[in-house]
């Protein structure tokens, strides 16, 4: 009966071993994901072993090589460098290990047959926050976007989303769209320049919250806190900033949903025999909502319990 209860809840009866790897635990988003995976792992009787990518394609490849030479019930991977992990991942797939791809493509989906791909729609994230910002400034004004690393697919998607919305508003003028490579020191440098260069800036969109908060710091130092700031990821510090009005909005990139979902999908594949494409779609979009003052505290609560 206990077994049936477990099966009903999706929990595995015998302890499973899973290997996880994400881009680099230096990133808060990844660190939150790790915590979520471990939390959901405990609930589902999965022992999670972590292989840190250290935000370095080569290091992650070596880590995944080492992962592939050990035995796992299932694995979940967020690639730092797209395409760099194909060989060892293919080796694990060939060995019959379900591989769940998180957030970033391991390789274009036609090149590698992962069990499922759980990821947010970056274009949607970019467009929804941009829309929130433009609405807040009344549909017209001058905006600046600060991009992540140009080579980052997430940043590319967010920028597409941003541009698609801006295009619909002829009264919006984009002053700058330079990349800051996720680097808060570059953000500070860029924004010090922008604030002296442009007497009027109405809104600013950043490809992640860290950069947004760093820029806010510069705006405060220049007494220019009237700029509406939009971020991306909705990490706890940003939720607090939104709640306090330092930031106007951010959009949730649901780290917990993705990492927890990987646990659920993995356990289902192993214990329930759930097949890719039947039990679970090849690709799952895990979008999160825009976070503004109204829903900020609820969002925080969900994150506290690894729900989103």
């Amino acid at each position: 009966s206990q077994a049936r209860a477990a099966a009903a809840s999706g929990r595995s009866e015998k302890p499973l071993k899973a290997a996880f790897s994400n881009a680099g635990l230096q990133a808060t988003w990844c660190a939150q994901g790790k915590a979520a995976a471990e939390y959901w792992g405990k609930l589902f009787n999965v022992e999670v072993t972590w292989f840190d990518g250290e935000l370095d394609a080569v290091k992650q490849r070596a880590a995944i090589d080492n992962m592939a030479s050990q035995k796992w019930d299932f694995v979940a991977i967020q690639a730092f460098g797209i395409g760099t992990l194909v060989q060892p991942v293919q080796k694990m797939i060939d060995a019959g290990i379900p591989v769940i791809d998180m957030d970033t493509l391991i390789a274009p989906l036609d090149k590698i047959n992962v069990h499922s791909f759980l990821a947010p729609d970056n274009e949607f994230m970019g467009s929804s926050v941009t829309q929130a910002l433009i609405t807040a400034i009344g549909g017209k004004g001058k905006v600046i976007t600060t991009q992540g690393a140009l080579g980052h697919t997430g940043a590319q998607g967010r920028n597409r989303g941003f541009e698609s919305i801006v295009k619909q508003h002829p009264d919006i003028e984009v002053l700058e769209n330079q990349p800051a490579d996720w680097d808060v020191t570059k953000v500070a440098r860029l924004w010090e320049t922008y604030l002296t260069k442009y007497p009027q800036i109405d809104a600013a969109y950043f490809h992640n919250d860290d950069m947004a908060l760093a820029a806010y710091n510069v705006m405060k130092a220049h007494n220019r806190t009237n700029i509406k700031i939009g971020g991306c990821d909705a990490m706890p510090p940003a939720i607090a900033a939104v709640a306090e009005g330092r930031m106007h909005a951010t959009v949730r990139n649901p780290s917990c949903r993705i990492h927890g979902g990987a646990i659920v999908a993995g356990v289902a594949a192993v214990t329930g025999g759930e097949k890719s494409g039947e039990g679970i779609p090849k690709s799952v979009v895990t979008d999160g909502p825009v976070v503004t003052k109204e829903n900020a505290s609820g969002m925080q609560w969900m994150e506290d319990h690894f729900l989103i």
Partner: protein, 341 residues
Amino acid sequence: MTIPVQEAVKGSPSRAGAFLRNRMRNIAPFATLIILLAFFSIASPSFLSVDNGVNVLTQISVTGVIAVGLTFVILCAEIDLSVAAIANATGIAVAYFTMQESYVNIPNLPLPGYAAIGLALLICAFLGLVNAFGTTLIGIPSFIMTLAMMQIGAGICALLVRGQIAYAVPDLVTMMGSGTIAGFPWIIIVLGVFLLAGHIVLTYTRFGRYVYMVGGNREAAEYSGVNVKMVLGAVMVISAVCSGVAGMIGVAHFGSAQQNEFDGYLLDAIAAVVVGGTSLFGGRGGIGNTIIGLCILGVLNNGLDHVQIDSFLKILIRGIILLVALIINVYVQNLRDRQRI
């Protein structure tokens, strides 16, 4: 008796030569700076303004404080590759010892502000001591010793901050890093104080002269009774402490403490010292050169933000301008050295 005429004749050209030589070391970087300033002023209407001047100064502040310490090290013909890592570790440490908001999920150890600052300074001084110990007592080349320390610094960062971002630092640090006094950023004043102190120590104290002696001719320094190992050890500690201070005000300036935040400062600080004209072979240069080097780097970085160029091209352009500055710099110095023969 006076020495034969031949020598006396030499005196005057060599005096003029020495003058010109010292000038040349400064003229080439200075000319580079002027050219960059002129170029960006023409290329962008927003570049030349008081506000942007303050921006450039703010932007070089953290690099500058690191570069002061690095100038000591390079004058001794050593190198410190751990400056950025130590800055990062110290910045994270001071945040670690400060009460963070509840949403920052680090098991940290809140202490009163001054205790946090003191402890952070102790940590960077300790890391500097390890560098000093490795290079002087064990005899590991500084290049390698500080490379290892760079990894250790990164490890400390990872361990303390555990993938999170910390925001709060002690008030004093916040003021120094992001506060203003009568509208003028404190961080520039901090930079000024460090530059001045560095200059005074190097030019007007025996220790400073020992630094030049050790860099210029280590054996001669030793024979004249200078405790070479102590000087070398001291510069490593000075460099680490400067980096630590830079890391603290940097964290306050950028408003957050996180891993790898200062990685870019290593190359910038080295480039500032060297582009300014301080010789990597030791014994020549000084804080004056570092100031010029800092300005060159600052203007270059800031100026490139003001002009509209393909973002992908920017990295290459920056690299090429740096290289050209170096080539001119070294070439002019060599030209002069050759004339001296």
